[in-house]
């Protein structure tokens, strides 16, 4: 009986973990691409899910179309954030604090916007696949959760391929590593940063679209998701977006085992304490390859 409880905790931990990983990857991609920690990453997830919900309920689109609409909206939001808000600040050579305040402002505005236009409701999306469950060692896992894990693996593989094999991805990497060098080879550095934010918006929205069938989404959840994603990215080492996968799964497991062994109420306390300890004691993360600024 007890062992099945632990298996159950591991299954739900991995499911939550891959969601955190997606948010963490978004944070890491934007950090690597533009040197900014995006405090609004969880809000991208919120927006992605809410747009899909409204596309289905208000506009009457089918689930796949609504899903795509949510993802596309995430990309557009990321692009708008860069072009309208980040670009003037980069031109002014604003300091780190200013960027942080900017993304906090974006997060606050989006959260308040969802509250104003969509209300205090909790939004859910239908499961991918059927609503049934699979039985693993006396524990259950929803088919949707399996799809989430598969989707995450696919996204990771696609991201790896994109950044390593396509010229667009390589150009984005080059622009982030050495802006001046990239510019001399004809890469449009500003456009690459815009693409980076679009990528961050897409990853954020996908996380929201995948989590909404498991955990109902509401207007205030963005910052919590951001912090969980940041924790995933920190454990894995911020300079390595793939590390966020390992970090996310570790965080998800720690959280769900904390529910079993401590109390469900302290799940966030445990998760954020892990974040603080990691930041202070292991600033490179467990998979980080190179140093980072600021701590």
């Amino acid at each position: 009986m007890f062992s099945s409880l632990v298996v159950q905790a591991i299954l739900s931990g991995v499911t939550n973990g891959v969601i955190y990983a997606l948010i963490g990857m978004g944070i890491a991609v934007i950090y690597k691409g533009s040197g900014v920690i995006n405090a609004a990453q969880g809000e991208f997830s919120l927006i992605g899910a809410v747009v899909a919900v409204f596309a289905m309920k208000a506009a009457g689109f089918s689930y796949p179309i609504a899903f795509i609409a949510g993802a596309v909206f995430g990309i557009l939001l990321g692009i708008v954030v860069d072009v309208v808000l980040v670009r003037p600040m980069v031109r002014r050579k604003a300091d780190e604090d200013a960027f942080l305040l900017l993304t906090i402002g974006i997060a606050f505005a989006i959260s308040a916007g969802v509250l104003f236009f969509a209300g205090r409701d909790y939004f859910t999306l239908p499961s991918i696949g059927s609503d049934g469950v699979a039985i693993v060692f006396d524990a259950t896992i929803r088919y949707h959760a399996i799809w989430v894990i598969v989707a995450c693996a696919a996204i990771v593989a696609a991201l790896r391929f994109f950044y390593r094999k396509t010229s667009f991805g390589l150009a984005m990497m080059a622009a982030s590593i050495d802006a001046d060098g990239a510019a001399t080879t004809g890469i449009n550095v500003a456009a690459m940063r815009t693409a980076t934010y679009g990528m961050g918006g897409l990853l954020g929205a996908l996380a929201g679209l995948l989590v909404a069938p498991i955990v109902p989404i509401s207007y205030y959840m963005g910052l919590v998701l951001t912090l969980k994603g940041f924790c995933a990215a920190m454990i894995g080492g911020l300079t390595n977006p793939m590390g966020a996968i390992v970090g996310g799964i570790i965080l998800g497991l720690v959280e769900s085992l904390a529910i079993v062994f401590i109390a469900s109420a302290y799940k966030d306390v445990v998760a954020f304490s892990v974040l603080l300890v990691i930041m202070i004691l292991v600033p490179q993360g467990i998979l980080g390859r190179r140093g980072r600024k600021g701590g």
Binding site: A94, G105, I106, F108, A109, G113, L227, Y266, L275, G294
Partner: protein, 319 residues
């Protein structure tokens, strides 16, 4: 008298509540309370370059200390203020010592994590804080046998406390500590060369910020007579950050402007429902992009520029 405008300001301040309705006086009381908490955040942001999202924690500790001391333990209110300040300061020291080793983004995220942990604990430890039920019937403050039971009387008390806090912060900023803080913010290595204990100074200012938050929280508890976990969410922490950013983090009048903004804008927009949150978020974005020195800082820059132009000789102006 070096500053004649100060007398005008004091006269306006003293007469204002007699002209305004009770509701607006109520808002001005909150502006005073938020000014005190915002001063601490402004000190960290404007002079040390530290973004803190943990001020709601210390605000909550001041409020809970006052509530528990006066309601549960039936002890005098002044003790509540003292315990709130000490508790805030000690916790800030204990948390700040390790956390302030971080800088920039990472420090800000760490303070956000602290605020979220604290909020969860305030919610769970209902044997101490009352959780969502909260603690009610907090007695009104008395001063020299005079009970501060109306917005009008509390208005004078809260703004006097705020003025004292402003004066203390002004002295801190104008003195050697202020120079050391700005030196540290602008050039860390140069500050180290001048034998400034960078980490110690950052922790000290973090503790000062927390104590101001504690005082602010105690005032809030006695003014509203009721505290619950709903008053100490992460939104409050962002509001406390918004106050100095909007007005101008390095300027003390700026903090007052910011506090007035966040108390009166929701009132002006109340017909639109929850619209003020969007305005706050957009205001933060616009100020950061267009007026990095805040409202007061930007006005000062304009005045300086206008002054420079008017004093410059025509020949120079045409160059």
């Amino acid at each position: 008298m070096r500053r004649p405008w100060l007398i005008v300001l004091v006269v306006v301040w003293a007469l204002l509540p007699w002209v305004l309705g009770r509701h607006h006086v109520d808002l001005l009381v909150f502006a005073a309370i938020y000014t005190i908490a915002g001063l601490g955040v402004g000190l960290l942001l404007g002079h040390c370059g530290i973004v803190t999202l943990a001020q709601s924690v210390f605000y909550a500790m001041g409020a809970y200390a006052s509530a528990i001391i006066t309601v549960n333990l039936k002890l005098p209110a002044s003790l509540g203020f003292v315990v709130g300040m000490i508790a805030s300061g000690v916790i800030a020291l204990a948390l700040g010592w390790p956390v302030l080793r971080l800088t920039g983004f990472f420090l800000a995220v760490a303070t956000l994590a602290l605020a979220m942990i604290a909020n969860a604990l305030f919610f769970e430890w209902d044997w101490l804080t009352g959780g969502t039920v909260g603690i009610g019937a907090i007695p009104k403050l008395g001063l020299f046998g005079f009970v501060l039971d109306t917005p009008l009387t509390f208005y004078y008390f809260a703004w006097v406390v705020a003025a004292i806090a402003m004066l203390l912060v002004h002295n801190l900023v104008a003195g050697r500590t202020g120079l050391a803080m700005r030196g540290m913010r602008d050039s860390l290595d140069a500050a180290r060369v001048l034998a400034i204990d960078v980490h110690g100074l950052r922790v000290t200012i973090f503790v000062v910020c927390a104590v101001l938050g504690g005082v602010s929280g105690s005032l809030f508890a006695h003014y509203t007579g009721y505290v619950s976990v709903a008053s100490f969410t992460i939104d409050k922490a962002i509001l406390f950050l918004l106050i100095p950013v909007l007005g101008g983090a390095a300027s003390i009048p700026g903090v007052v402007v910011g506090a007035l903004f966040i108390t009166f804008v929701p009132e002006l927009l109340s017909k639109l429902g929850d619209f003020h949150g969007i305005v706050f978020g957009l205001a933060l974005i616009v100020v950061v992009i267009a007026a990095p020195h805040g409202i007061v800082g930007t006005i000062r820059q304009w005045r300086k520029r206008a002054l420079d132009e008017s004093t410059a000789t025509p020949g120079e102006a045409n160059k």
